[in-house]
């Protein structure tokens, strides 16, 4: 008996020696307005980590790594994100970071990551998040830059939209998206006749909506707003008697918007969605997500689940988990990755100067009784 015990003890320690730990850092928003996105990114990373851990760890160069996710809340603030980045890079010594969520935060932590050769998968929508001189920054999700033009072309034509009003948060993300959307609508033959900027904490949108509605717009654009805020905009616009279209050209948030604004107010809303409800892989993932976290996943989640798996594959291919120069090259080199979203490739050379932007299919959906119904299937060039 004693011998068996000793042997098993030995084996426990030997197992622990053979298996090293691979830490993935996460700088995500877990409180306040952007929490829905931060959570969904973190949970996606955790689920991807669960996948490899269930197989006994990530196999890199003959070693098995147990993947552990270390997360810090950035509260959607650049300052907090920098603190988190410093802790992750210098104290936790991570080599890979998921996040941040916001553009300002992504720009603020970018230099720390690049300088210390930490590979970052960010959600930040700003076009400055990726650049030729940012070799360690990648973006696994589609942004307004990629999706807005094909989608807006389609909506303007199919729904006969002429004048659009929009509200944006007054920060890097909001300013950037406002600029992109204004151009995109102009190109599609419609006009953004009124745009309003407000502080992110704002909850009473009525004065701003009053102004927009007085200009006689026939559609309100929600893109750029955090899910909870977008929900309040929809609710209050309908309460003020707005009868036109409500469009969300990017940033999946339908579940949260319906949760805040209610089923009636959201009927007929046109949204961008990276997920086709008919996709069974995503459905399986969503069910798994719900089973573990008791929450409906946000549409960004599959992108980060796929992104984390691409990162794992890059480490396996590079044969190292520590030399991020090699892993980065391997990650760039991944072609036709079979993710749950479909076939994924890197693109973005023309727009950003480096092929670090994911290219994935997406959809335009109409919200009906709280559910998305796909109206059009899109690629990065056009919607059908």
């Amino acid at each position: 008996m004693k011998k068996i015990l000793a042997a098993s003890l030995l084996c426990v320690t030997c197992g622990a020696f053979a298996q090293e730990e691979l830490k993935i850092g996460a700088i995500v928003t877990l409180s306040g307005a952007g929490a829905a996105w931060g959570q969904t990114m973190l949970y996606a990373t955790e689920l991807a980590a669960d996948d490899v851990n269930a197989k006994g760890g990530l196999d890199v160069g003959g070693k098995k790594y147990k993947v552990k996710v270390v997360a810090y809340d950035d509260k959607y603030q650049a300052g907090e994100a920098v603190t988190a980045a410093n802790r992750l890079v210098f104290e936790d010594k991570v080599k890979y970071v998921i996040g941040p969520v916001g553009s300002a935060a992504a720009l603020a932590v970018g230099p720390i990551m690049e300088k210390n050769k930490v590979i970052m998968l960010t959600l930040g929508f700003t076009d400055k998040a990726l650049a030729a001189d940012k070799p360690f920054s990648f973006r696994p999700n589609l942004t307004t830059m990629e999706t807005s033009q094909p989608q807006i072309n389609w909506i303007v034509k199919a729904k006969n939209v002429k004048k659009v009003g929009a509200l944006f948060p007054n920060d890097e993300t909001g300013q950037q998206i406002a600029q992109d959307l204004e151009k995109a609508y102009a190109k599609a033959g419609a006009q953004m006749t009124s745009k309003e900027f407000f502080e992110r904490e704002r909850v009473d949108m009525m004065p701003l909506l009053t102004r927009i509605m007085a200009k006689g717009v026939d559609a309100i654009e929600l893109d750029g707003n955090a899910p909870g805020t977008a929900g309040l905009i929809v609710k209050q616009a309908r309460e003020l008697g707005f009868k036109g279209h409500i469009i969300r050209s990017g940033g999946p948030a339908t579940a949260e918007i319906v949760n805040v604004a209610g089923v009636t107010a959201t009927n007929g809303m046109l949204v961008n969605t990276p997920i086709n409800p008919a996709n069974s892989d995503v459905k399986t993932y969503a069910d798994r997500y719900f089973a573990k976290y008791k929450k409906r996943m946000n549409g960004f989640s599959p992108a980060f689940y796929d992104g984390t798996h691409m990162l794992f594959q890059a480490m396996t291919q590079a044969g190292t988990a520590t030399d991020t120069d090699k892993v980065r090259v391997a990650l760039e080199g991944i072609k036709d990755f079979k993710g749950i979203l479909g076939t994924l490739n890197w693109t973005g050379k023309d727009v950003y100067g480096s092929n670090h932007q994911i290219s994935a299919p997406f959809y335009v959906a109409r919200v009906q009784d709280g559910q998305e119904v796909v109206e059009s299937t899109c690629s990065l060039s056009s919607c059908q």
């Binding site: 409180s31 929490a35 007054n170 900027f197 899910p227 929900g231 309040l232 309460e239």
Partner: protein, 289 residues
Amino acid sequence: MDFTFLIGQALTNGLIIGLLYLLMAIGFTLVFGVMRVVNFAHGEFYMLGAFVAYVCVTQLKLPFLAAVFATFAATLVVGWLIEVLVLKGFRGNELNGMISTIGLGMILQNGALLVFGPDPQSMPPVAQGMVSLGPIMLPMSRLYVVVFSIVVLALLYLFLMHSKGGRALRAVVQDPEIASAQGIRSNFMYPLGFGIGVALAAVAGALMAPVFSVSPSIGSTPLLKAFIVVILGGLGSIPGAALASLLLGVVESAANTFLSSSMSDMLLFGFVILMLIFRPSGLLGKSGR
């Protein structure tokens, strides 16, 4: 651009929001008046009230009216306990009292974060649809808030002006020493004043919960507005708070409608700074405390 629609809508939006500010500010100014404590946790009681109402309506399936009463009662008790357990030692000590309420606010906010999580929750609307007055739209959900606020304020007025407890409370606000010389038990009045003050903030939170969303971080904006109101109206002055909050609501709403949102914030704070420089006692406040 339809001008009557703009003006009318801006005014009604402003009055509705002004009433909400009033509920917040009266509690704030009452607590200051009674205890000379600037209650930095006031916004967190707004948040707490929103959550209590949310739990009452969604989990316990209470009707909204009952939920508002339950919120008032629950936060009155919580406020009472906090005064007795935490703030008792800081009565009349402005700096220490203020710092302890900052800590209290953090505890409440992070406590809510632990219990309820960071997601904004949504409460079912109390009323749907809207009433139109010509071109002006009045959402039913906000009209409810107006009616409830007016009822709460009327009850508060009756209590303060025409009841023994209210008179005693006002006496403590005016002069604690003379009040206790007249046989008013300050050990009863301090917790009561604090309890009523924070319960008013909680009622504001409960009323606004179905209109806006409910999350642990919703308390900071109303706290800021309460600050502005009491600075404009005069710290400790209830009529001043009433005047200033309606003024703030209307000016803010009009500025937001006719100027840009960031401009209106700048304008507002500019106004507050001017007020502090040229009339530090506020519109109706008494100077020389």
